[in-house]
Structures are given as structure tokens and as C-alpha cells.
Amino acid sequence: MSYLHISCALIILCSIAAGMIRILSGPTAADRMMAAQLFGTCGVAILLLLAKGMDTIVLLDIALVFALLAALATITFVRRAWHEQSGVPRR
């Protein structure tokens, strides 16, 4: 186990905890979604650091899944917000 990597991961985890404030207080929905997106990026960083720190190669795959699928929620959100603005006729 590597002390340095795990403490770096801990710092990024604390930054996630700080980023929660943006989700909780973000004035618009887009702010909240962007904060969640930032969490995804931080999660990738933590996983890469833990993969080095805990000597587990499999964590790299999990980081790849995070990076691939993090965009999904944002894309869904963008399509949805766009629907609201462009005034699609509602039932």
C-alpha cells in the first residue's frame, strides 16, 4: 500500500464533499448537473490513485466505465432541458 497515493485520493474525496455544496445550493439545474459531472471526473481520479495505492489493476476498468458512462446523465439532462426551452407542445 502506498501512503502517498491514498492520501491524494483522500484529498480528492474531500473535494467531492466540498463540491456537494454546489449541488445543494446551485441556483440553476445546470449548476447541479455540472457538479455531478465533476464528481464523475473526481471519481475517475480517485479510482486511478487507488489502483496504484492498493495495487489492484481491475480498478482501471472501473475508472474506464466511469469515464464512458458519466456522459449519459448529462446528455439526458441536456436533451431534457432543451425540450423545455424550445417549447415542444405538451399534452
Partner: protein, 237 residues
């Protein structure tokens, strides 16, 4: 919780909520006792799994448990997923907008870049399930992610695909699994007792079929209703 705000609005003490709170505190105390009394030895089956690992045909213990030692469990679970799709399809029709908004160039680029990568990675995960982390469920989930990415972009060609292919894909996992199970009964006399020389290949076959069907299941659940060209009722509007 929201209960608090409603509580403040109505009266100071809602008796029902107070009762619920009391019961929950009681339950918490009970469960803390249980947790403190646990000795953290797992299920106690870890040694057995390690002993028969060589016979299972895969190197990863979790995959061995899922597909070999507790194979009937996974077989039924794949059926449960199919039942969820049946439930959703019987409830409502998929809400396709009348005038879909064309995806912009950036979104098309994202779909073009990400969707093939996701499909590739999902099959990599299925293959990797035999020796490291991964397997049918993880691969199927990533495949489902690729399908959801295409669905949410409302690609125009997506609606013109006949739902017959979708149905075949959805059924492939359960049918292959069930077929192998019945084959095992014929060959060995017991359900899901794989013949020893074929076990690795059979597990990979089952996993691939299940991953495809799980991915399509998740996509159908996201689409939220049965497809437009219903085989039962023809095209009604």
C-alpha cells in the same frame, strides 16, 4: 426530511409520525445490536468455493459462483429481468415525440465516438469475467449504456428497426441459458451440471448471450414502453 416541513406546517406534533419515529428508533436499536453481535465471517461458503474453483471452468470466484455453483439463481434472475420488460411493455407505449429534435453535430460526434467504444468495452468485460472482475451483468450494463446513448439522441434510423430483432435479442439470454440447462439434464442427468470438458466454452456462450439480452433489457426499460410496431395489434395510433 420533508416530513419535518409538513410537520411544521400542520401542527407541532403529528401523532402518527411520532409513532413511526418511535418504531424506527426501536428498530434501529435492535439492528445495532445485531450488527454488534455479527462476527464477520462472510457466508461461510468461501472455503468451499475455493476448493471447487478448479472444477468451475473459470478463474474468477464471483463468476464461478454466479454461473456455475449458483447457476439456477442466475437463470431465474435473467427471467426476472425479462419479466420486468414484459411488465413495462404491458403498461404503456414508448413515448416517442411526434417531432423529434434532431441531434446537433456535437452530440452526433459524441455518439459516434462513445457508442462503439462502449460496445467494444462491454464485450471485453464479458471476456474478462472468466479471470478478473467482469461478466455478463457488467458487460450487459455497459452495452445498455450504449443503447441508452443512442436512444436519448433520438437517432432517426432507430425507430425504423423492426421490433422483431429486439424481441429475438431480449430472448437470446434466457433461451441460451435454458437450452444449456436442458442439455445438461440430457447429458448429465442434473440441471446445470455442465460437462467438464466443455464448461469454459459453455459459460462464455451463456455470458455473451446474457450480456446482449441484459443490455437490450436495460434499453427497453429506459425507452419506457412497448415499441411502435406491435406484433399483436398492428399499427394503431
Amino acid at each position: 426530511m420533508t416530513a419535518r416541513s409538513t410537520q411544521n406546517k400542520r401542527k407541532r406534533f403529528d401523532p402518527v409520525l411520532l409513532l413511526v419515529l418511535l418504531l424506527i428508533v426501536f428498530l434501529t436499536g435492535l439492528l445495532v445490536q445485531v450488527i454488534l453481535a455479527t462476527d464477520y465471517l462472510g457466508s461461510g461458503l468461501g472455503d468451499d468455493v475455493a476448493r471447487f474453483q478448479d472444477l468451475s471452468g473459470v478463474e474468477s470466484p464471483v463468476t464461478a459462483v454466479l454461473l456455475n455453483f449458483r447457476g439456477y439463481d442466475t437463470l431465474l434472475e435473467v427471467m426476472v429481468l425479462l419479466m420486468a420488460v414484459v411488465g413495462v411493455w404491458s403498461l404503456t407505449r414508448a413515448p416517442f415525440p411526434k417531432k423529434p429534435i434532431e441531434p446537433g453535430p456535437i452530440q452526433l460526434a459524441v455518439v459516434r465516438l462513445l457508442a462503439p467504444l462502449m460496445v467494444l468495452f462491454s464485450f471485453y468485460l464479458v471476456w474478462q469475467g472468466s479471470h478478473l472482475a467482469g461478466g455478463a451483468f457488467q458487460g450487459g450494463a455497459v452495452l445498455g449504456g450504449a443503447c441508452v446513448l443512442m436512444l436519448v439522441s433520438e437517432l432517426p434510423w432507430l425507430k425504423n428497426i423492426s421490433s422483431r430483432f429486439l424481441r429475438i435479442g431480449l430472448l437470446s439470454g434466457p433461451l441460451v441459458f435454458l437450452g444449456v440447462a436442458i442439455l445438461c439434464i440430457v447429458l448429465q442427468g442434473t440441471l446445470l451440471d455442465y460437462p467438464q470438458e466443455w464448461v469454459g466454452t459453455l459459460l462464455l456462450l451463456i455470458e455473451t448471450a446474457c450480456a446482449v439480452s441484459i443490455g437490450l433489457t436495460l434499453a427497453c426499460l429506459f425507452a419506457g414502453g412497448r415499441p411502435k410496431d406491435d406484433l399483436s395489434g398492428g399499427r394503431k395510433r
